[in-house]
């Protein structure tokens, strides 16, 4: 069985962001980076499937500059067999259709049985790429799964809907699924697996060879939202903050009465 999992490297959302010189994306220096949270679930599910199915081969794909190889190594240490790095220093300016186009172009003649992606990225958050890849490859795609069972070519998934309701869906492979938080418990790579990952294949391919579609949208401008909430910000020593907050609660609410 051939499996593909697509991941993205994103900044830690607690970072202090700045707008870049063009004013079309965030400044990429001075940020802490990690694997997109949703993709961690995708990698874990792909690895579990690989472990379940004999003779399977799991490729992790990531688009970006050389730095993303670090994130790919984590996926390799979690259990992916090989890495396909699509070298692109301008990946952050590509819109979801271009990203999906690159992935589909890579995947089209490799007959993957299963493709896993995160349901969205934490930075751009468009929630489109996985489903677009499915459409481009002309195979079924199912968004936002929280449960996945594969058996003999048939896949049973649960999609998470609002209010905690789930929709149960059955479909035949090949297909694409996009993974939602809580799908599984992503493993921590162990030290021996981190060492082993260093020897795994990690090929870089130039994005120019794979980008065959045109962009359909652009970012005109990126900026900080106007602060609307006139909320009070309290800073200082903890004991002092406690007193201040209690004072406020006494004045503004009836909860301490």
């Amino acid at each position: 069985m051939k499996i593909l999992v697509c991941i993205k490297r994103v900044p830690d959302m607690e970072s202090k962001f700045k707008v870049d010189a063009d004013g079309t994306w965030y400044e990429k220096t001075d940020l802490a980076w990690r694997m997109n949270e949703y993709d961690e679930y995708a990698v874990e599910q792909a690895v579990q499937l690989k472990e379940q199915e004999e003779d399977s081969d799991l490729t992790v794909l990531c688009i970006g500059g050389d730095q993303v190889k670090e994130t790919m190594k984590k996926a390799l240490a979690m259990g992916c067999d090989r890495g396909a790095h699509i070298a692109d220093d301008n990946s952050s300016s590509k819109e979801p259709f271009e990203i999906a186009g690159i992935i589909a172009e890579y995947a089209k003649d490799k007959s993957f049985d299963l493709v896993f992606t995160g349901m969205q990225s934490q930075d751009r958050g468009s929630a489109q790429v996985g489903i677009l890849v499915a459409e481009l490859l002309d195979i079924p795609g199912i968004a936002t799964i929280v449960d996945f069972v594969y058996s003999g070519g048939e896949v049973k998934v649960k999609r998470e809907l609002e209010g905690g309701v789930k929709a149960c869906v059955t479909v035949k492979a090949p297909l694409v699924v996009t993974c939602q938080l809580g799908l599984n418990t992503p493993r921590y790579p162990t030290l021996p697996n981190i060492m082993k990952a260093k020897k795994k294949e990690l090929l870089s391919l130039p994005v120019e060879d794979l980008l065959k579609v045109d962009s359909r949208q652009e970012t005109a401008k990126i900026y900080f939202p106007e602060k609307k909430g006139g909320g009070l910000i309290l800073e200082g020593d903890a004991p002092e903050l406690v007193d201040k907050l209690i004072q406020i609660l006494k004045e503004k609410t009836a909860v301490l009465a």
């Binding site: 349901m119 929630a127 359909r216 939202p225 909430g229 800073e235 004991p239 009836a254």
Partner: protein
């Protein structure tokens, strides 16, 4: 400009979000029609043409089929835009429609400024103005970003959609969330633990503060996904919606899906080490502090009052 508004229907009921689509259409101007895979039993109060496909025939979840139905209507109406909610239904279906129409899809629009769609970036810490380069476009609207101030009161003109279509996936039924246990919706005070608590042992610290205040404790999703707290205490779109007299968010960043479950609280206090955390926008008071230090001190002080 002609827009197709895609309303939603689940488990035999129309979802109230059709009203957000109508508000969006008003803000865009031009003409609009609505599309729904639903039933006669529960129709949107929409003054306009409603293309109604029977959910019994076409299925509540059948993406290939719903896509084709929408494409047929786009063709018939010569529509310029298709609008979905940014919901589990929308993010499954919208990209398919965009792909087939060779259209740009702009996801999670929070507002339209001078005709330009604005979307959030990085957990709403930043915003982006999007320029669409295609003739047609597909959009999804952030939940709660649009909405008519009053309940709409119209009656649609129904045009039934017929057809014989088959999809590749088989929907086999819904699974309801487990019920029972605590009812956060009834609590006067809710103190919630977010990922910022760091480890499961710290749930107790949050529960203690809740108890000192005479309330209940809740949690954000990652805390529930990690199984540190049971699901019926989760606050947000995929958990409970609460509106207590006081909501204290401890180590919670304030993602839109969490805010949706608590922003109607009467008074909101956030405790967070990140002064720029988006929860600050919803909070009446943002205490910039390490919760591990602040929460036990606050609990102690309240107990001694």
């Amino acid at each position: 400009m002609k827009i197709i508004l895609v309303a939603e229907y689940r488990d035999g009921k129309l979802l109230a979000s059709f009203n957000e689509l109508m508000d969006f259409a008003d803000k865009m101007g031009g003409e609009n029609v609505m599309f729904l895979v639903g039933g006669d039993n529960d129709l949107p109060k929409y003054d306009g043409k409603l293309y109604l496909a029977d959910a019994g025939t076409f299925g509540e979840y059948s993406p290939d089929v719903h896509k084709q139905l929408i494409l047929d209507i786009v063709e018939k109406e010569q529509a310029d835009m298709v609008a979905f909610c940014h919901s589990s239904y929308g993010w499954d279906l919208a990209p398919r429609v965009a792909f087939a129409l060779k259209a740009a899809q702009v996801s999670e629009i929070v507002e339209i400024v001078d005709g330009v769609p604005v979307v959030p970036v990085c957990n709403a810490k930043l915003r982006r103005d999007v320029q669409i380069k295609t003739k047609r476009s597909v959009v999804t609207l952030q939940a709660g970003a649009f909405g008519l101030p009053e309940e709409p009161a119209g009656t649609p003109t129904i045009e039934k959609v017929e057809g014989d279509l088959a999809g590749r996936v088989q929907f086999t039924g819904y699974e309801q969330p487990e019920s029972g246990g605590v009812d956060l919706g009834k609590a006067r005070i809710v103190v919630s633990a977010g990922r910022g608590i760091g480890k499961p042992e710290n749930v107790e610290m949050i529960a203690n503060l809740a108890q000192a205040l005479g309330g209940e404790y809740g949690a954000s999703r990652p805390v529930v996904d990690s199984e540190w707290v049971e699901h019926n205490r989760q606050v947000g779109t995929t958990g409970q919606t609460v509106a207590p007299k006081l909501y204290v968010a401890c180590g919670i960043s304030g993602a839109i899906q969490h805010l949706a479950g608590m922003k109607k609280s009467e008074f909101i206090v956030a405790v967070n080490t990140d002064k720029d955390a988006p929860i600050g926008e919803a909070a009446d008071v943002l205490v910039v502090a390490d919760l591990k230090e602040f929460v036990p001190l606050l609990t102690e002080k309240i107990q001694s009052l």
